[in-house]
Subunit: 158 residues, 3 copies
């Protein structure tokens, strides 16, 4: 059998899907898996800093940066978005149940040494720059993803 | 090589995605895989009883219970929902081709001893209670999911 | 450990998700994986020929054929569709960065002998016929998918 290793591609930029990814990742790390979350496409938005960062960009890149949510707590839901009421309701019940927010789940992942990787191809494409993302993130491409994925058995695309 | 084991996280509450999950699961069981479907977030709606169940709930929990579809045949589509016409069209062609409905696929899964698990964390969060779900469902958390997933190689997040 | 094998179920009919599937698939093939992409449900639309093909169909089948996008470059986005502006923006930045289009990624997959399979059950259901899809596609069901998937460790549902 392969090593205990969990490798997740986080493609989605939805709050609920990112939560699911980070809950599984943190769980796996707690059970001694080596864990990687490879953020690609909209999944990168979860790692953006909330405050705008001054970087030089072309016109389209500025548009993308403006239209995409900045940071974990600004993501929408995959279901029941309801013009923004859904996320508020979900966060309200999460608080009531002392559930960890996505921001806290990301912090926990970093404390548990989960490897957080961002796809360099998407960074190029959407014109995102490293200064705009959280600290402690690695940058790599599909080859690095596969090197991790092929060594384990729990491979998910979220 | 690992055991023949298929473990599916069903996160989605869409009829078409749930169908895909149950078709793969039933296929795998027919080919001697041990199969688990771990229902989390909106994926739990596929297991709700169609008729409303009288349980005590707070205000937000009642709201969620009301807004989320009750049972397999009330789920929407991930594409071509078209204000409810899409699901009717799909079900019409399914009937014409004698394809199994999601309800029938779930029954078949239970007959084939596929382990149907519901995520206790989501149950808490959305205020769902066991009386509201089908009989014969197991209740567990991410640790139980990982214990199944790490023993097999076919791991999917749907 | 299992063979180096990557097996992807492409369920989604979104341009960005199909791109992610084909980028991972082409990467895996370059690193000596045996790769299969199993197209099911809306994922089949990526393989449709762009020009309409004359085939005999019933009414509902004609409706589906008309409403679903014909071919890779006519797919929408999973996010930021924005009434069709999103896909144009994305394609504009892709061109600027010399990124491969989905059409080119599919051609590369065929050159790398990636097995492109289409789900026969979905073909029946949506009334699609082989003449309407690209050449060089295989047709199979869930049993063939599982036979590939259970021999490898990188299994994704996209």
């Amino acid at each position: 059998m392969g090593k205990k290793r969990t490798t997740i591609v986080l493609f989605s930029g939805d709050y609920d899907k990112a939560m699911a990814a980070y809950i599984i990742a943190n769980g796996a790390a707690a059970y001694d898996h080596e864990v990687t979350i490879f953020h690609t496409f909209w999944g990168i938005n979860a790692l953006r800093k909330e405050e705008p960062v001054e970087v030089k960009k072309g016109f389209l890149e500025k548009m993308f940066a403006k239209m995409m949510p900045r940071g974990a707590e600004n993501l929408g839901l995959s279901k029941m978005q309801m013009l923004g009421i859904g996320p508020k309701m979900i966060k309200h019940v999460m608080e009531k149940h002392n559930a960890l927010t996505l921001t806290q789940l990301i912090e926990m992942a970093q404390e548990q040494d989960i490897k957080l990787v961002t796809c360099t191809m998407t960074m190029d494409l959407l014109g995102l720059q490293k200064e705009e993302l959280l600290d402690g993130i690695e940058y790599a491409g599909v080859a690095a993803y596969l090197a991790d994925a092929e060594e384990g058995t729990v491979n998910l695309f979220i």
